[in-house]
């Protein structure tokens, strides 16, 4: 298995599927449509299987890029084909690979025109998405990043609702405008680094003045994608007009491109600028959370309401990312994955009734629980997950983000936590108006409950939401080391002397306090927790060791030895000697 270029296979398999559908063009009619559906489904399912294999071959203890495929593409320009994954991109790749088959199944019967083209668009989209998340070369990244726009633009513009052209253009122009700025920045970085290799660029320091400009250019692109207030207005329009599956991918994966970009590029490449702009980002995020939640309260269109709630949830993501703190960042990534599942499911929920009644107006519904109890139950679970009820994935992400921000700025946390109340308000009110009440509308009298294909579509999302809610550890372990790596890099760049290396973090302070002043029984008697602690990974350890040495505190060192046990000792001393020499 190891010899195969697994990652590249994953990226291009959907494209192969698209080609197969394309070659089957001529058959015409129903048979062709059916063929297209089945080919698309199988291609995306095999891709999903491949991404799971990727997870199996992924070593979460290493912070390096893994499963890399690399060859010279344009050697003269130093542009290469380079892909690889780390703990930050892998969850998003799996998410994309999961949502595409879900989308294909969800559009099985609701799309009747141009089925082959539709399926091709989705498969191309999948290639672009997975490629974008795994690209390790700027040119490649930009191609995929922009490439995502084309199928999405077509999906909205061709299979969308009545006002689809306006929405598609708004979506396209907004994101393109942002991307153009990031292209300029990419070109600058390319000339500065002398290569378009991303790992190389990540370790290249930029001067602070340049960083500010580059950061802004990248920000323009990512902030539109995620989207941050006030660049969010394209999202409700795009969602309203997009077909159900389009909304699923749009909310589920496309929004995460922004968050991914911030973590992958903005923070590690431009640490000074990121630190400089953190208050700005916090302000925008808080506005996004409160503003869009209030706006969501006023919505009359189901999809618009969920779209606005997405903006609010993404506010938590940007908050978490710019804490540059283990809890905040892991929370942000968890929130991205969880929102991918939840918002996708919520849009599917709207799609279910839209397929039957052809209306998205909340006022056209009411009392659905009488005819659709199973639908009501499914909708309820995802509504609650969106509200962030503990036991669902929504809570884990939101809570970790709040935990991260609270150690940096209590104002931000307090204001952000009002989102808990407002989120509950608009979600419950939507649910009440659509599901509860007396079934009065004559149109709804004959509506039928979920059928087996719809059940099938919801089940992986349901399982994912609940599993990540009760046991998010597989995800958290997967992202842990890579996030720690980003944070370390950021901290070292900002503060090479290590003076306030851990000072910003209350829990770190506490840890040091515990070891120097008071050694709590809890930590002494339960070395299990610390031994298993994921900090025992190389880079984290070196960080802690730096911390220990900086304090010139022998006790600290003893503490670490005690913590990690004797078998780690030679390793620690070796690092110590190495860096001192």
């Amino acid at each position: 298995m190891a010899g195969l270029p697994l990652l590249s296979m994953t990226i291009f398999l959907p494209l192969l599927g698209a080609l197969a559908i394309f070659l089957n063009w001529g058959n015409g009619g129903i048979a062709q449509a059916n063929n297209a559906r089945w080919v698309a489904l199988w291609a995306s399912l095999v891709t999903l299987g491949l991404t799971l294999t990727l997870c199996g071959n992924f070593d979460s203890t290493s912070s390096n890029f893994q499963l890399e495929d690399k060859f010279q593409w344009m050697p003269l320009l130093n542009v290469g084909y380079h892909v690889g994954v780390d703990g930050i991109s892998l969850p998003l790749i799996v998410l994309s690979a999961l949502l595409i088959p879900v989308s294909i199944l969800a559009s099985w019967t609701s799309i009747e025109e141009r089925v082959a083209e539709y399926m091709i668009a989705f498969l191309v989209l999948e290639t672009m998405l997975i490629g974008m998340f795994s690209a390790l070369d700027f040119i490649l990244f930009y191609i995929f990043f922009e490439g995502v726009l084309i199928p999405m633009f077509l999906i909205i513009g061709i299979w969308g609702g009545p006002n689809r052209v306006y929405a598609a253009f708004k979506f396209f122009l907004y994101t393109l405008l942002g991307s153009v700025l990031s292209l300029i920045a990419i070109i600058y970085v390319y000339f500065e680094v002398g290569s378009s290799d991303i790992p190389l660029a990540l370790t290249t320091p930029f001067s602070p003045e340049i960083q500010i400009w580059l950061w802004i250019a990248f920000f323009a692109s990512f902030a539109v994608k995620i989207p941050m207030w006030p660049l969010h207005t394209w999202l409700p329009d795009a969602h309203v007009e997009a077909p159900t599956a389009g909304s699923v991918i749009l909310a589920g994966v496309l929004l995460k491109m922004g968050g991914y970009g911030f973590i992958r590029f903005s923070i590690p490449m431009f640490p000074e600028a990121s630190a400089y702009f953190t208050p700005f980002i916090f302000t925008l995020s808080i506005i996004a959370i409160i503003y869009t939640s209030l706006v969501a309260l006023a919505q009359k269109d189901m999809k618009k309401l969920i779209a606005y709630s997405s903006v609010a949830h993404m506010g938590f993501v940007t908050l978490g990312i710019f804490t540059v703190d283990a809890q905040g960042m892991q929370g942000a990534i968890t929130q991205m994955v969880s929102h991918g599942l939840i918002s996708a499911a919520l849009f599917l929920c709207v799609g279910v009734v839209y397929d039957r009644i052809h209306s998205r107006e909340i006022a056209d519904y009411g009392g659905l629980v009488h005819r659709m109890p199973r639908y009501a139950a499914v909708f309820m679970v995802f509504m609650l997950a969106s509200v962030g009820l503990p036991g669902t994935s929504g809570f884990v992400g939101e809570f970790l983000v709040l935990l991260g921000t609270y150690q940096i700025n209590t104002w931000v946390t307090t204001l952000a936590s009002t989102g808990m109340v407002l989120g509950a308000a608009y979600a419950l009110w939507l649910y009440r108006r659509v599901i509860f009440g007396v079934l009065q509308k004559p149109k709804l009298k004959a509506i039928v409950d979920l059928h087996w294909r719809e059940n099938l579509v919801f089940s992986p999302l349901l399982a994912g939401t609940l599993i990540l809610g009760f046991y998010p550890m597989p995800l958290l372990t997967m992202i842990d080391t890579s996030v720690a790596n980003v944070i370390d890099q950021y901290n070292i760049a900002l503060d090479p002397e290590g003076e306030r290396f851990f000072k910003t973090k209350k829990s770190m302070e506490m840890a040091s306090y515990h070891q120097t002043n008071f050694f709590p029984k809890h930590y002494c008697e339960a070395p299990k927790a610390l031994k298993q602690s994921k900090m025992v990974q190389d880079n984290r350890l070196s960080g802690l060791l730096r911390f220990a040495r900086n304090d010139n505190n022998l006790l600290n060192l003893k503490y670490f030895i005690k913590m990690f046990g004797d078998e780690q000792w030679p390793y620690i001393s070796c690092i110590g000697n190495g860096s001192e020499a």
Binding site: K170, L173, Y174, P230, T233, P236, Y291, L294, V295, A298, Q299, A326, Q327, Q330, G331, V369, P373, L384, L389, P390, G391, V396, F399, L400, L403, Y406, Q407, T410, W411, T413, T414, S417, M420, V421, A424, A425, L428, W429, R432, I435, F436, G437, V438, F470, Y471, P472, M473, L476, K506, S507, M508, M510, A511, H514, P520, K521, H522, A529, K534, M535
Partner: protein, 642 residues
């Protein structure tokens, strides 16, 4: 024992899954059997644990698996049983089991029986995971979970608009409190670097003088943390300010009111405050605040209860009031007294609610006590148990409420905190009102002339056995739980609570509470008889007095009758502005400002400028030639003069 503990918590969950998933297919009977049966086992096990572990002062902790672990933040799922949780699981399972059985009879003929039974079991699961939580986060899991079930069950009759609104209101008001809870958890983590109860409590002395920066200022860390946690407790336990959801919650079926809104969920706030007693002991300011809020709640809600006419709402306000008593006791370091009242209250309040349900059942779903009266002959058993419940509630000697209320009053009297005496006065005043509204309820409901229509009167019947059995069991609890548990829970020098409750030596109120002067000891009973006397005067002897009072003190009456206008205030202050603001932000902010200046503005601009540029292209050669000559002149001028 570990297996038993796991079974106690998870059997109700299995019941929920069985009834929830298979109930629709296999029918009502199956879901009733499954949920009641599993609940029964859970009850038996938890009572066994109470006798085996609780009475021997042992504790038990069962770690399950890691929930969240990020860097230093590590939280595990687990079951922690110390005397506090053991008391709670016993109370919760017993009451829940009774309510399960009662529901079989009460909900007969309702189309949603499987759904109802499964919600009850789910609620029990969440409640058990709340009380057995080894850390704050799992507690929050249970906390939100019971809130969810409360929402689902209040809105159980989803056809009713009022039920839906009440359900949403309950969830959202609770969420406001939960902001406090979450911030409290975060603060605790900020102070201690962990949210495990055992670790936090061990570290408390080390951090007793810490300060913590929050928002504008620097505060005493433990005071801040406990205050934030208490805001959460205020929401869940319906204390004044965040109490408005509880009376509306009576929209739910009566068994729900008994289980969730009287005996268990609403006491979660009290439980949480008692659970963090080691923190509170170092935060006297918070304790004073808790006491004041408790006292205010006890009195204010008692006044409202005196003038309401809906039988369930009266009992709901009474619940708020009794929760106020529990908080008063906890605030004054009388944690064990608080838990004692919690336990006895669970029995007699569940009894009152279920009894009220039986009355409502008999009266063809009539809730208004002004339309009842003279029915005691027809429903004798309900009548008797309602009397027992009311006597326990009012604190008539030797009924369970007497013991617990008495010890709380004593604690207030002996407390060293300056607010102790205030609490004492308010508590006595509330005790008079408690007796008054209890007997007002009894007299208007059962005595006097029948005021119901003939159709209703002819239909009146005693409830079936399956409803009466739980009533009798709870009545026995209301009769004897006080005297039986007195020595164990609050007896002088009892060691029952062990390490679960921590009181600083200088704050100890439980020992002196046993040695108060006699008139203090008897004051609650005197207050109770006073209240009963007034009630008899008003509703038996001088029946026109209530009317007269209402007209003479019209303003006061209306003020109290309208529940001190809390709902109106909140509507005006928060709800309407939010809705309006949302609309404004959407229409003016998003559509006008952002879209207007942003994409649409740009679009208009480019179309307009396109139009202008378009007009330049006239197509006449001499226009172009002229422009070229001008350009040429300018370029040459530039070249020569620069």
């Amino acid at each position: 024992m570990q297996t038993l503990a796991i079974l106690v918590v998870f059997l109700p969950l299995i019941g929920f899954l069985l009834a929830g998933i298979l109930g629709q297919k296999l029918g009502d009977r199956f879901s009733q059997l499954a949920t009641c049966g599993l609940m029964g086992f859970s009850t038996v096990f938890s009572v066994y644990i109470f006798f085996q572990l609780g009475l021997h002062g042992q504790s038990l902790s069962v770690p399950l698996f890691t929930w969240i672990h990020v860097e230093f933040f590590e939280v595990e799922w687990g079951i922690q049983l110390d005397s506090l949780s053991i008391v709670m699981i016993a109370v919760v399972t017993v009451v829940s089991f009774m309510v399960h059985i009662y529901s079989v009879g009460y909900m007969k003929g309702d189309p949603g029986v499987p759904r109802f039974m499964s919600y009850l079991s789910l609620f029990t699961f969440f409640m058990l995971s709340l009380v057995t939580a080894p850390n704050l986060l799992q507690m929050f899991f249970g906390w939100e979970g019971v809130g969810l079930c409360s929402y689902l069950l209040i809105g159980y009759w989803y056809d009713r608009d009022s039920a839906n609104i009440a359900a949403i209101k309950a969830f959202i008001v609770n969420r406001i409190g939960d902001i406090g809870f979450v911030l409290g958890i975060l603060t605790i983590f900020g102070i201690f670097g962990t949210v495990d109860f055992s670790a936090v409590f061990e570290l408390v002395p080390e951090h007793q003088n810490d300060t913590f920066s929050f928002l504008m200022g620097k505060y005493h860390a433990l005071t801040l943390a406990t205050l934030l946690l208490f805001i959460g407790a205020m929401g869940k336990s319906a204390q004044i300010g965040l109490h408005t959801w509880l009376p509306d919650a009576m929209e739910g079926p009566t068994p729900v009111s008994a289980l969730i809104h009287a005996a268990t969920m609403v006491t979660a706030g009290v439980f949480m405050i008692v659970r963090v007693s080691p923190l509170l002991e170092y935060a006297p300011l918070t304790r004073e605040f808790i006491t004041l809020i408790g006292a205010a709640t006890a009195l204010i809600t008692a006044t409202i209860a005196c003038v309401q006419n809906d039988i369930k709402r009266i009992i709901a306000y009474s619940t708020c009031s009794q929760l106020g008593y529990m908080f008063m006791a906890a605030g004054l370091s009388g944690y064990s007294a608080s838990m004692f009242h919690l336990t006895t209250h669970a029995f007699f309040k569940a009894l009152l609610f279920l009894g009220a349900g039986s009355v409502i059942h008999a009266m063809s779903d009539e809730h208004d006590i002004q339309k009842m009266g003279g029915i005691w002959k027809y429903i004798p058993i309900t009548y008797v148990v309602m009397w027992i419940g009311s006597m326990a509630l009012a604190g008539i000697p030797f009924f369970s409420g007497f013991y617990s209320k008495d010890i709380i009053i004593d604690v207030e009297w002996v407390s060293q905190l300056p607010v102790g005496k205030i609490a004492y006065v308010l508590a006595i005043a509330a005790a008079i009102l408690t007796a008054f509204y209890s007997w007002r309820l009894l007299l208007l409901t059962f005595h006097g002339k029948p005021r119901a229509g003939d159709a209703v009167m002819s239909y009146i019947h005693e409830s079936p056995l399956i409803i009466l059995i739980p009533l009798v069991v709870l009545a026995i609890g209301s009769l004897f739980s006080g005297s039986l548990l007195y020595d164990l829970f609050v007896g002088e020098g009892t060691t029952f609570w062990g390490a679960a409750i921590f009181v600083l030596p200088e704050d100890d109120v439980m020992t002196p509470a046993h040695h108060v002067v006699h008139w203090v000891e008897w004051s609650p009973s005197i207050a109770a008889f006073l209240g009963i006397g007034v009630a008899y005067l008003f509703y038996v002897y001088e029946t026109d007095w209530p009317e007269k009072f209402a007209t003479t003190f019209k303003k006061t009456y209306l003020f109290v009758y309208n529940k001190w206008y809390f709902d109106e205030l909140y509507q005006w202050l928060f709800v309407n502005p939010s809705l309006k603001f949302g609309k404004v932000l959407w229409e003016e902010g998003d559509q006008e400002a952002i879209d207007g200046l942003g994409p649409n503005g740009l679009a208009t601009l480019s179309v307009a400028s396109g139009g202008v540029l378009c007009r330049l292209q006239t197509g006449y050669v001499y226009h172009y030639a002229f422009a070229m000559i001008i350009g040429l002149v300018l370029m040459m001028g530039w070249y020569f003069f620069m």
